[in-house]
Symmetry: C2
Subunit: 514 residues, 2 copies
């Protein structure tokens, strides 16, 4: 067995690329990388299907490539699927470069082919030199660990933005995730050429790979030779950098997910809310990662989210004051609330994590009354000795003197003329509206803020403060324990993480497939 086959086998085992017997779509252009890949995989007891996309770009050359791949598949006795794309039209329609359009068309085709063939693994021929070029490209354009780690040996295809929002659709088509694997990612171009020669493979060469008007080709043919003057082993070094950073990126993703759990609060469907105190306790690196993750979750893209956006927002969130905002991308902004941060469309009203009460609602006492928006209110009769007013820090639980409130309790919105005596302020009576402003209830939440009302008037401005007159005193004989609970959140960040563990951060970007 050729040593390359053994090397690919080890690599595949280590990175769990596939297992014996797996059905695999092999993307074959007809060039040396994919032809070598096909030949190597054929020796590994896999069920292969050859797939080739005609990009509609290079005229008779592309036609010849297509025939060549079809012939190669037939000679090997493998099923063959071909597709056609009009990459030029796609690029024009979407405003993409030809390279980008070709890449995305290719992945869409491979994905569809895999779905049809019932395969869940797609193998492509990226090699170690491609990897070095990818790392270099990200380095020159400016990138964090997510870009500098280059391409991954194995990555879910759903992580790739395909054609206009298709990624989400695709993942709904099937429960089985599609994996993109790159078995030759540690094999350099010379070794692949050597393998082809040794095994009598005569690949086609794509002339467009020489065209230095493509950025990647300029790196390959111009810049990498220059960099070899500074380090002759530059390609090897960059491939190692990618591998090392891929491991670090995984660690960072784990930390970001953990930090997310610690800071994210329930919010509306088009907003992410962070608890400001927990956010500020996180390191600057995690703050940047959380911000990027928030933008990614809201927009499924980090496009145009530059360094300056992130820095401005992160520092504002660290040092800014209530009411300040920083523009992000995709129409989003970060806004600083009193005790929370929000990433949401600019100028969107703050959603409020409180039940909204449009009209008076009689409550079951004692008992449970459902409230709009997935909330409920639970009222329990308790002995005075059970009362722990002020204990615990759940603002949605209150202890009230039952003698003061009486047994008829109502939840209602505010009314003109409402006044309130906040407990602990020496019986000082103030306008309810004034109290709400002081308590930083956002303007548009005040009108429907829940007020618990009993015999003596407002007993509890829910979530905030008990009225002095309704509070439990040493003289109280019976008390109400009132709890407002959210049964489900309109938007639970935890849901996003269920199922297939999606990496926080953007899909890895790369520009040239095989």
């Amino acid at each position: 067995m050729d040593p390359l086959v053994t090397a690919v086998q080890t690599f595949a085992r280590r990175y769990r690329l596939f297992q014996s017997g797996d059905a695999i779509i092999v993307g074959v252009s007809g060039g040396p990388d994919s032809l070598c890949l096909l030949h190597v995989l054929q020796q590994l007891s896999l069920q292969l299907t050859v797939a080739h996309l005609h990009h509609g770009l290079r005229g008779v050359d592309a036609d010849a490539d297509e025939r060549f791949v079809a012939d190669a598949a037939r000679e090997l006795g493998l099923p063959y699927i071909e597709g056609r794309a009009d990459v030029r039209a796609l690029a024009a329609r979407e405003g993409w470069s030809l390279e980008e359009a070709a890449r995305l068309a290719r992945y869409a085709f491979l994905r569809d082919t895999a779905r049809e063939a019932g395969a869940c693994v797609i193998a492509v021929g990226h090699n170690a030199d491609d990897q070095a070029e990818t790392v270099l490209m990200h380095f020159l354009r400016g990138s964090g660990v997510d870009g500098l780690r280059g391409m991954l040996p194995r990555t879910p295809l759903a992580d790739y933005r395909l054609i206009s929002g298709e990624a989400e659709e695709a993942s709904e088509l099937s429960d089985t995730p599609l994996w993109l694997v790159r078995p030759l990612l540690q094999t350099d171009r010379d070794r692949i050429a050597g393998y082809c020669a040794a095994h009598g493979l005569q690949p086609r060469y794509d002339q467009s790979n020489e065209d230095t008007s493509f950025y990647r080709n300029r790196l390959r043919h111009e810049l990498i030779p220059i960099l070899k003057n500074y380090n002759p082993a530059i390609q090897e070094v960059l491939a190692h950098t990618a591998e090392a950073l891929a491991g670090d990126a995984e660690t960072l993703q784990g930390q970001t997910a953990q930090a997310w759990d610690a800071v994210a609060l329930p919010g509306g469907p088009d907003e992410i809310i962070f608890d400001l105190e927990s956010w500020r306790a996180a390191s600057i690196g995690l703050q940047r990662a959380l911000l990027r993750e928030a933008v990614y979750r809201l927009r499924r893209s980090l496009r145009d989210l530059g360094w300056e956006h992130v820095e401005r927002a992160v520092w504002l969130a660290r040092e800014g004051e209530t009411g300040q905002a920083a523009t992000l991308t995709g129409g989003l902004a970060l806004e600083l609330g009193y005790d929370r941060l929000r990433i949401a469309p600019e100028d969107a009203p703050w959603s409020v994590a409180a039940p909204q009460i449009a009209e008076a609602l009689p409550l079951t006492v004692p008992g449970v009354t459902p409230l709009p928006g997935g909330w409920r209110i639970v009222i329990e009769a308790a002995d005075t000795s059970d009362a722990r007013p002020g204990e615990g820090d759940d603002p949605w639980q209150a202890w009230l003197g039952a003698g003061a409130t009486g047994p008829v309790l109502t939840l209602r919105p505010r009314q003109p003329g409402d006044r309130f005596q906040p407990q602990g302020m020496g019986g000082h009576s103030m306008k309810l509206n004034e109290y709400m402003i002081n308590a930083k209830i956002p303007r548009d939440a005040r009108a429907h803020w829940p007020l618990l009302v009993g015999r003596g008037g407002i007993a509890w401005v829910c979530g905030l403060r008990v009225d002095e007159r309704a509070a439990v005193t040493p003289a109280s004989t019976r008390v109400w324990r009132v709890t407002i609970e959210r049964l489900y959140a309109a938007h639970d960040p935890a849901e996003t993480r269920q199922g297939e563990a999606r990496a926080p951060g953007p899909p890895v970007d790369f520009l040239r497939g095989d």
Copy 2:
């Protein structure tokens, strides 16, 4: 106030470089960066001392620099300290490049100056272009996040390897850590030149900065201009990369420290022992980081620890079998034990985490008997109802039937002909040596392994298994609870982390100071 002063003030506050009133040593070469730095810092209510090192390298030019800096300090009314080094001799003696020797001599001088002056902050003039060059240099040489993050705005000086092992000494000289700060790290060279011009500063220019036989100067004068053809904003981009990765590096260090706590076991003074199962549960990225950290702790250097060393060792530890080893650097190797990994000098015998018993030792029953090597054995009389044999997973605690063992207990090494009936094996009797082999006690630990012996013979092969005949049974009326404890470990990894939080990973390397 010049906007640069405000910018430096903001930067200093964000990265906690210094506070108003701090005593600061400013390293001044006389070039534009350090002269600008001095001028800016003078406007920030700090107690400055100017320090200049004559490197003994550039003859009359260097003499003139020295006079220039002394004059500048005098004009500003600041204390001035100068030093002289013979960098050429240092380079020759230590086998370093001139650049490296100059850098290390400079930091040693600044450190000593700070100690003398009672300052704990040293400011140097590295700018954003220096940072970009540093990142580029690490990128070309091959580096993980630790290198690609470039220079830090603030870093403990003790983290720098100074002259031959001086770093450790230095940190013992004083309880106060010395901080190296770089207030101009986000200011580019053009802005510094502009500031100098605007404020009538006439810095000296070091001709050796033009000498492209120095690697860094080649990057600055040759490669960066080329890279600008690929991204005109390359310097800015690299400075941002550094800043982003510095945050990520901090997160990764935190994770590495946490992982260390989960996997490190007590070991000898020149070895690090990891629990194999916990190690294998860690991600590959953390495994690499732990391995590098282990080498760094043992050798205070990661010099010559290449990618191949790390990968070979990491994959061996993941997939290898007991007894296999992989060579690292500094004479170290990683060895795979039965349930542990060891990083230690090649061919060093395994130290054993058990007391070593050379001759029979009568024990105080009940009571405490000290054992060699910082261990002790505690024997307590207990009621049968207290006995929890098999509960908990401390192998160094055993419950024995006092009726079976009697009150005279001894700890002794093995003797020829010793036999043992391991509890739970149906009374099967076996040769003790055979048992020890099965239990994977290393060969050289078997001879002095502690055996607890009572009336009926071996009652407990300590740390491993109680003898069937000495075990607690329903018929037991009195029991011994025997505990072997280590009072101090020869090498406690936790100690290394006390005091000033030392970052895991190597000191940041950089080649050219100001």
